[in-house]
């Protein structure tokens, strides 16, 4: 598929002489394959082969140590229907859906606001861009430590700020109903990449349209609704699709927030309120010795993500207008 890319530099200088020389043609092909070989090797060894192996293992009872035994669809049916064997499978599905429903709009909204503000200022936007992007490049363990402090029920800054507004103190990370909103808020704080993409989208809106709208007497709200939102539609759609996929796979954030050190095992927060799908999968793969079931979980997730993404492509408007 990448062959034409490799061909182009060799055939451009003397296009006329290429025809009728099959040996040369074959050699070009060979060079092309050689050039993409490293990428292909990476793709096959680290992506394609493991994915196919995982598909095979999802039909076995593999525990990483002993030879896998073929169990057919048992992993899949047990996961979906056997509540005794996998008591928290559906809980992890619920947690993940709730997280996605809250985190994705919150992240996109925050990113759009930040991008609009950055786009509006003339000086110092570089500094703000850097500051707003920093949470993305901060090590996940540090993010976990910082936010455990911010959400601390006794000393946490979050409670202090809410206290100013008269909202009573909350025990954020230890109250089942508050865990997911608290995690989604952290995700929104880490919206830097979406912010940059929105900013690029905003820069892509021709100034002439905006000027014409001003001349026609459109106020800021009208300009936002009638120009910015429609013109950003492809950007928004891209961020929605990628954001939903990422949110359905959330793992690192939950892991660092609830691991907390001190030999504590990660079982997903109070009453499994933070047990996301991939954390559940990880526990079965590496803690409960059920790699086969974990592989099955990853394929259930794959199918689910494909369905959701297909629905998004059908139901959400993608073109700018």
């Amino acid at each position: 598929m990448a062959v034409p890319v490799a061909e182009r530099p060799t055939d451009t200088p003397r296009p006329g002489r290429l025809l009728g020389r099959p040996g040369r043609w074959r050699r070009d092909h060979l060079v092309g394959w050689l050039l993409i070989a490293p990428a292909m090797a990476y793709f096959i060894v680290f992506l394609l082969y493991p994915a196919l192996a995982a598909l095979y293992y999802s039909f076995t009872d593999w525990d990483l140590r002993t030879a896998p035994n073929w169990v057919g669809l048992a992993n899949y049916t047990d996961l979906l229907f056997d509540g005794a064997k996998y008591p928290h499978f559906w809980q992890s599905v619920r947690v993940t859906l709730l997280y996605t429903l809250i985190a994705v709009p919150l992240t996109m909204g925050t990113a759009l606001c930040q991008a609009l503000l950055l786009n509006a200022i003339r000086r110092g936007s570089g500094v703000f861009r850097l500051l707003l992007f920093l949470p993305v490049v901060t090590a996940e363990a540090a993010v976990g430590a910082i936010w455990r402090w911010l959400y601390d029920p006794q000393y946490g800054l979050v409670n202090v700020v809410l206290g100013l507004a008269g909202i009573p103190r909350q025990n954020w990370l230890n109250t089942p109903g508050l865990v997911i909103p608290a995690l989604a808020f952290i995700a929104a704080w880490q919206c830097g990449i979406s912010m940059i993409i929105y900013l690029a989208g905003l820069k892509g809106i021709p100034a002439s349209i905006r000027e014409a709208a001003i001349i026609d007497g459109a106020g800021p709200v009208q300009r936002f609704r009638r120009i910015v939102v429609p013109m950003l539609r492809p950007t928004t759609f891209y961020l929605l699709v990628t954001g939903v996929i990422a949110a359905l796979q959330v793992f690192g954030l939950v892991y660092v927030i609830f691991s907390g050190g001190g030999g504590r095992s990660v079982t997903g927060g109070p009453e499994q309120a933070g047990l996301t799908y991939v954390l559940h999968l990880y526990l079965f793969a590496f803690r409960y010795d059920a790699m086969g079931a974990a592989c099955a979980m990853s394929f259930i997730l794959l199918v689910f993500i494909m369905i959701i993404t297909a629905l998004e492509f059908r139901l959400v408007r993608q073109e700018a207008s």
Partner: protein, 405 residues
Amino acid sequence: MIRRVTSTAAALALLAGLAACGGSKDAAAATTLTYWMFADRTPQAGQVVEKLRAGFEAANKGVAVKIVKIPKDDYNTKLGTALATGSVPDAGTLDQPLVARFALDGTIKEVPAGTVDEKAFYEGALTTNRVDGKLYGLPQDHTTVGLFYNKTLVPVPPKTWDELKRVTAEIHQKDPKIAGIVVPKGDGYGGWMWPGFVAGAGGEMASVKDKKVLFDQPPAVEALQLWVDLLKSSPREITDSDKPFENGLAGMMISGPWDVANIKDQFPDLQFSVAPLPYKTEPAGNIGGENAVVFSKGKNPDLAWKWLKYLTDPANNTQLAQALGGFPSTIAAAERDAATFGPDQAAFLEQLKVARARPAVPQWIQINDEIIAPAIESALSGKATAQQALTGAADKTRTLLGWTG
């Protein structure tokens, strides 16, 4: 995600492979013994391990011991991938609850008869290596949790549950901003500590021999009810804060010896000490620590057992245990060196005599995390009574294990 998990697995396998190939400088030695262990906790611990290794090599000419150290959090994952790819060490450290799994699927070897004198070891620690009555490993060290108490708030540590409840209530009554005790949570960690309380009321978690789940019986229900009662004078909004005991916001907490050094280091002003866990009918405790096993696919089993025997020899066991952050698993070593552990550690050492091993079933970690921990949490949060929560949990455990009792 599939990609991520599988490629992580592949990458880990590769790393494990690299780790196993690294450093072949002992080419002169006729036999190389590969031993896997957790990464050193301190530089001093590394020196102790090095000294022990040199001692073994000096006593066994022509033998080189290659020690591979892996961070504790990654250890089980790496060991799993190494076993999957066949690059197996001769021997290695193994978490207590994994012994049953590895023994039953043939990954590790049974201890050959006559290798060690079983009476030389603490009963609890040795039992963590026993599966279906057979011995599969040797305890390197062992540890347990005790009652940390703030000497200013708790002048005399409680010995019994009644005293514990009284002291807890008094602390909170005197100052509502201070919690009586940090009540453990219904998570994997709380699930590990809870059996110490069940045993303190004369109960057991399960009887593997009789295939009976016992944590819905009165002693277990009473132990859980104790936690529920303690919570009344120990609000979560205080104890969920960062380091509540260390910051003087809680009168007591339940933790292990690793916290003694941490607190002394970070909170030098805190006046605290450690007492054995309060009990109802008999002193008891939970157990943790590191076992050492010999892998079936390893090349030098005889030498491996010799090495493990050397590490658990009373002459070396105290140094090793201190390096690992636990206590000697051999009685002779512990009694000889008791004084060197200092007064703060005496309570743990005392309690280890009555520490109880986890039930040796391969699914125990999952039962602990997925069934017992949520049951504890639902009782603590008031969603169910202790009896309801445990009856439900015990039934689920029976279904999972296929037991009828």
